[in-house]
């Protein structure tokens, strides 16, 4: 099946790009650009090419996790198990690879298999057993993290071989202009490209459909349960890849990956993806992830006490979602005031119009 192409009446790309800035998915890029400028202001070293690509590289795991979470949220679900998947995979890598480079490839294969298995379990429990995904993934989080900690007693045995860690830590040296390109940036670009391609395929369009109006998709002959399960599988694989990069970057520890699912959900929502599913662009989710990371870096360089960072993140989330809604409401509020004034004047008010919010 070929991808659907729009007619030749489509506006030229530059115009489309500018117009898209007015969509929720587009506006996030404005914010990201502004924040990057501010960061460069606080940290002039960032404008050095090598530094910028390193910054992108160290935040790549969060962006990858956001991509995974995007698939799940677009389908109208939640995946709260990403943090536990990351922890489990990190521990798996640390314990099974040890210092033996020959184990690297088999263990990576095993990790991907485990990631797929978790995704399948999440998907089947949510679709066939009809357990709400919030609960399913909460359950799998507890089971997975419980098992991981039980087997390792709470901490893995140590960092795996350097060859394995090179994936997350190393990069290509002496690239013209840019200087140093971490492998994690390449992985991110590859994954983002693959994700964008996937969303243009029938699967991607069905995924949006499942989030938007599931019964219609079922009537079309597609199997919503399989579509949603695949979304969970993609999410778990994304968490696995993020885990591989994180082991490389920082090594193993029992707390690695904790809370990443909430960061991912925040990034996706900031990027304009509706929490009920059915709308949103994948690259905006990546932009949302980088907005959060850039914010953390700015706060660090501005000397804001590290304990205040969660508060700033919380404020950003609430403001970014609340202000547009308030702005929309100001019209409705004015209508309400006007109507109240008119009912005060006239004894018989006209039939009240309900002010339903657009979804």
């Amino acid at each position: 099946m070929t991808t659907i192409r729009y007619t030749t009446n489509r506006l030229p790309f530059p115009t489309r790009a500018i117009r898209s800035l007015s969509t929720p998915g587009g506006a996030i890029y404005l914010l990201l650009l502004a924040l990057l400028v501010i960061l460069a202001f606080y940290n002039p070293g960032l404008s050095e090419p090598g530094q910028l690509s390193r910054f992108i590289g160290r935040s790549a795991p969060i962006a990858i996790v956001a991509i995974g979470q995007y698939f799940v949220i677009a389908a109208g679900e939640f995946d709260l198990s990403m943090g536990a998947v990351i922890s489990a995979q990190v521990v798996l890598a640390g314990n099974l690879i040890g210092q033996d480079p020959a184990q690297i490839l088999p263990v990576i294969v095993l990790m991907i298999v485990v990631g797929i298995a978790v995704g399948v379990v999440n998907g089947l429990l949510t679709t066939l057993l009809r357990v709400p995904s919030f609960i399913t993934t909460l359950g799998t989080t507890l089971i997975l993290s419980g098992f991981t900690f039980y087997l390792t007693g709470g901490a893995p045995s140590g960092n795996p071989a350097d060859a394995f860690r090179a994936i997350g830590r190393g990069g290509i040296q002496n690239v013209p202009v840019i200087g140093f390109v971490p492998y994690s940036v390449l992985v991110l670009i590859a994954l983002a490209g693959a994700a964008v391609w996937l969303m243009r395929r029938p699967f991607g369009r069905m995924l949006m459909g499942v989030g938007d109006n599931q019964s219609t998709i079922a009537l079309l002959g597609a199997a919503p349960w399989w579509i949603r399960t695949r979304a969970f599988i993609l999410s778990s694989i994304a968490a696995t890849i993020a885990a591989i990069l994180m082991v490389g970057y920082a090594g193993v520890s029992p707390v690695v990956g904790q809370g990443y699912e909430f960061i991912a959900i925040t990034a996706v929502v900031l990027g304009g993806v509706a929490l009920g599913g059915g709308r949103g662009a994948i690259l905006s989710a990546v932009a949302g992830a980088y907005v959060l990371e850039t914010l953390v870096a700015i706060l660090n360089f501005a000397g804001v006490e590290s304990t205040w960072r969660p508060a700033v993140q919380g404020a950003i989330i609430v403001l970014a979602l609340g202000l547009p809604l308030l702005w929309t409401k100001r019209k409705a509020f004015k209508i309400l005031l006007r109507r109240k004034a008119s009912t005060a004047k006239t004894p018989n008010p006209t039939a009240p119009q309900s002010i339903t919010e657009k979804p």
Partner: protein
């Protein structure tokens, strides 16, 4: 859609605001929180500082080959009514097993338990793990108190003040109460087993930094958690020394998360000169070291603890290092204290264990002794004379 235009407006306004604010804020390197150095750290206690300073070099009673039984001379507690006529049951309320130091101690404690069980002194060690939660630990202690089947209590408190009421309830049962590691916020316990102290720990590593960094140098301080008395005391002592030496410092609370540590240190390197890194927990040192490597900079003075990951990195990379020690063998001492009481022997009321850091001189010997051990093992585990050494520690199966 109405919301989309509103969103763009919101984001552009937010972005413009942020730009405006940042234009007014100090550019470049902003004022570091270190300027609060002038205010006294509420955890700093001059008396305790001086006491622990003197204890660092004091003479300990007992055989140096068995450091886990050594103690500083002082008031003793008679076993008296605690003497048991047969194997006795010990109940252990453990704060957590959530870091590698605690796990090392726990493995050693269990090996010691096997010995004491063979000798018929202790019948069973019932343990409850509070998983870092004060509320759970209070419930655990109360459970033991209400079950009325314990012949002795061993408590490793999570937070001193929060667990104090529960510990007092345990004391009121009349059975021996052995506190170790962190304090219990109350003096009613039979004995309190601990290494010299957190302040001495901080003094050891901070003095090393003072001796190796010029005044005016910049120290990056990595702290695990706020409000935990062991860590706070270490930092209070270190901060005191840094202030006296005229060193500048920036401190961060990291939760011992390696990703965070690496990002923090990388940013600090980008901000300016880092002359030393001081950590309050061994697990934090290695990510910091890697941050310097990745940035292509020379590794400055980085202190750590006696965990083998740090010691090995220290040897391999060749920077100026120093390992403060907080004896992991005190877990073993706690069990032995119970055993001694059951056998009618007196034990010290305040059981202070020697605290000997690992300096560059001892590094090679320590590494040789612990050659096959995993990176997460701590050198001062005190298990060398237990059967099962070294396999049990090498395999590192958490009981």
């Amino acid at each position: 859609m109405q919301t989309s235009a509103a969103r763009t407006t919101t984001f552009t306004v937010l972005a413009a605001l942020a730009l405006a604010v940042s234009a007014c804020a100090p550019g470049g390197t902003a004022a570091t929180p270190a300027t609060e150095a002038a205010t006294q750290n509420s955890w700093f206690d001059q008396q305790k500082y001086d006491l622990e300073n003197s204890q660092r070099t004091a003479t300990f009673t007992g055989d140096p080959a068995k450091p886990y039984l050594q103690y500083l001379p002082g008031p003793m507690v008679e076993a008296g009514a605690f003497k048991a006529s047969g194997p006795a049951k010990v109940c252990f309320s453990n704060a957590a097993l959530s870091n590698t130091w605690r796990q090392t101690g726990w493995i050693t404690m269990n090996e010691q338990l096997k010995e004491l069980q063979k000798q018929g002194i202790i019948s069973e060690l019932e343990t409850r793990n509070a998983q870092d939660s004060d509320n759970t630990q209070v419930a655990d202690i109360d459970y033991f108190v209400n079950e009325k089947s314990c012949d002795a209590f061993i408590i490793a408190p999570n937070s001193p003040q929060a667990t104090a009421p529960a510990v007092e309830r345990a004391c009121s049962t009349g059975k021996p109460v052995i506190i170790f590691d962190r304090g219990a916020g109350t003096n009613c316990g039979t004995t309190f087993i601990h290494s010299v102290g957190g302040m001495a720990w901080g003094m050891d590593s901070a003095s090393f930094i003072k001796d190796n960094v010029e005044p005016g140098g910049h120290v990056v301080v990595l702290r695990t958690a706020a409000g935990v008395d062991v860590f706070e005391q270490r930092w209070a002592a270190a901060q005191h020394i840094f202030n006296e030496a005229g060193l500048k410092y920036t401190d961060y609370i990291t939760g011992a998360d390696p990703t965070k540590i690496k990002s923090i240190v990388t940013d600090e390197i980008a901000k300016g000169n880092v002359d030393a890194v001081w950590v309050d927990l061994g697990d934090q040192a290695v990510p910091a070291i890697e941050a310097f490597e990745d940035a292509g900079k020379d590794i400055p003075v980085v202190t750590g603890e006696d965990n083998l990951a740090y010691l090995r990195a220290w040897k391999a990379k060749g920077f100026k290092g120093f390992a403060s020690v907080y004896d992991a063998y005190q877990w073993r001492t706690a069990l032995l204290a119970a055993a001694q009481l059951f056998q009618g022997q007196a034990i010290p009321k305040d059981w202070v264990l020697p605290q000997i850091p690992v300096t560059a001189k001892e590094l090679d010997t320590v590494l040789a002794t612990n050659q096959g051990m995993p990176d997460t093992h701590y050198a001062a585990s005190g298990g060398e004379d237990l059967p099962g050494f070294p396999q049990v520690w090498q395999q590192r199966v958490i009981p």
